[in-house]
Symmetry: C2
Subunit: 342 residues, 2 copies
């Protein structure tokens, strides 16, 4: 299995990307194709690793402060080159660079699965429930139509079932109250479309209606559907609360306990918490709805995050998610249950 | 100072409301007017307290599952009676009952401050910064126009300055990125209106542009402006993350420490955390933009939350916030900088 890894544009530079690839190789068999600055990369690639990876030299990349549209014409940029390699035969791509650029190029070069109005960025949220809920869209589409949200519901359901292996996954729409009457004009319309869509109408145990912000963390439903503007705010709010609580907690422990006991407490007590809430453990966010597996990693990704993102890419490919999604949408394409997308 | 307290419709019943009033009376001089089921209340009102409160008997109330519009015609309901008393001479009102009913009746009976397109529900968020950020709207208005968000910015700024006593309060728009180009179509338009509004245009240090979800908890700005749909989701997400972390943490401590040490740890380490994140300490959410002080408390309010909500009501009245807001909007009414609201 060939996995393209973009080495460029991440906040922490090339090193954690290469370390992540190396760690993943220790556990899984795959052929990494590293795109980016070969000279910079060389310093971090051991002899052993060099024999297992292919390096494509393209030092140019899209900077975080650049517009995503810039990527569509920058033929020498790492993500442009990488996406071409994916299109022309590789199996999956992982990038921690400019996410807008990756999403734009993926949609342009790989194309949308037939019937998908807009690809969506999908992320697993920390949970105290048995499963983690997945939330989409978390940033690919700022202004959405109800039709997009229906597609996100289908994409999320298929991903939960096929890639995450959830039995009987459930779906909800993120709203300002759980009653059916709640929602803004967008989610109210989406609620109806999802409710009436054959997959959900014929299996009424899947669609649970509206859910609230707190439902995300107790796994009230497996798939939480929202527009990318709201999803991004939910994601950042979650990070913000977790970080604020961590910081308050550390200060309190320092105030109440000796340095040694404090350090022990933090290590022990924060261990599980960190694991449960650390984005690194969740890998990256798959871009669902395009014709191949694309995983978008956090800009701040450490080696562990890249490693997990690669496992995710492998699982996505192995589970044949793109094919299963295409099949799910072929039902939609055959029917007339929703209006055409303008 | 006469403060109307609605005793009905809260999740925990009449008792914590009466206890909250009693606690507040121990610290502040005011005349409580308790509206609700006098028979139920009697059991909890001591002789001493009875001499300090007026009780208006009206056992009917709007149930959580009823529509807010129901309140507008239910003349015998506690919140209807209470709002009339506020309108006819009392100084402030506190309710932990049906929030939609309270907001609807406040707008109908007290009226909006001239120039305010929509009143907004405003809440203080926990913060690791020196000040807590206030967030509005968090639920009064589901579908918003950009014009409403401009008004929320003015209302929030005035509240931060006049009631919270913040020196040089700053304002931001909640968006999916901090760059000026970010936002959905609504917030992009609101960004321009706020940027160009004389109060902010003439004092460029106030308006900081877009902020992200995590900025709320580090007090990047004092006033975070959003529509009520997004605000509600942010609020519930915050509650959900805090609760999930608390639950993960408790489990971990139980696993790693003896019951005795565990209990001690939880008490010590959670003390500050609880205080910083406990909604009870923040009292309730003022409904800004109506002609008198209305504080909407959490349905789950305990006695401490009601006590703090009463202090908030007293501060709001003492600081003359309604008059100051009217003055702030008189500048708006005199100008022509924003289009009329349909």
């Amino acid at each position: 299995m060939k996995i393209v890894v973009d080495m460029m544009g991440a906040d922490l530079g090339v090193l954690p990307i290469i370390e992540g690839v190396s760690k993943a190789l220790a556990n899984k068999a795959f052929e990494p194709i590293l795109v980016g600055d070969a000279k910079k990369a060389k310093a971090f690639i051991s002899k052993d690793l060099a024999s297992k990876v292919e390096v494509i030299d393209c030092p140019d990349f899209i900077r975080m402060e650049e517009q995503a549209t810039e990527a569509l014409k920058r033929k020498e940029a790492s993500i442009f080159v990488g996406m071409d390699i994916l299109k022309n035969g590789a199996d999956a791509l992982v990038s921690a660079g400019h996410s807008g650029a990756t999403m734009g190029l993926a949609t342009l070069k790989l194309g949308r699965i037939k019937g998908v109005s807009r690809p969506a960025l999908c992320t697993l949220m920390p949970s105290v429930g048995k499963r983690a809920s997945l939330c989409l869209d978390v940033g690919a589409n700022t202004d959405c139509k109800a039709e997009y949200l229906l597609d996100f519901a289908i994409l999320g359901y298929e991903y939960a079932k096929s890639v995450l292996g959830y039995g009987n996954p459930t779906v909800g729409v993120l709203a300002n109250g759980e009653e059916d009457s709640k929602g803004d004009s967008l989610t109210k319309e989406a609620f109806k479309l999802i409710h009436d869509y054959p997959l959900f109408a014929n299996n009424p145990s899947i669609f649970k209606g509206n859910v609230e912000g707190n439902d995300i963390f107790i796994n009230s439903v497996d798939v939480v559907v929202c527009d990318g503007f709201v999803g991004n705010i939910v994601l950042k709010t979650t990070e913000g609360v977790a970080s604020a609580i961590g910081s308050i907690f550390k200060t309190t422990i320092k105030e109440h306990f000796s340095a040694k006991i404090g350090a022990f407490l933090l290590k022990e007590a924060f261990g599980t918490l960190k694991q449960k809430t650390d984005y690194a453990e969740y890998g990256g966010a798959p871009l669902l709805g395009v014709n191949k597996a694309v995983i978008i990693s956090h800009g701040k990704s450490n080696a562990r995050a890249i490693e997990c993102a690669i496992y995710q890419a492998i699982r996505a490919k192995e589970s044949g998610v793109a094919e299963k999604m295409a099949q799910a949408f072929s039902h939609k394409n055959a029917g007339v249950q929703s209006p055409p997308v303008s």
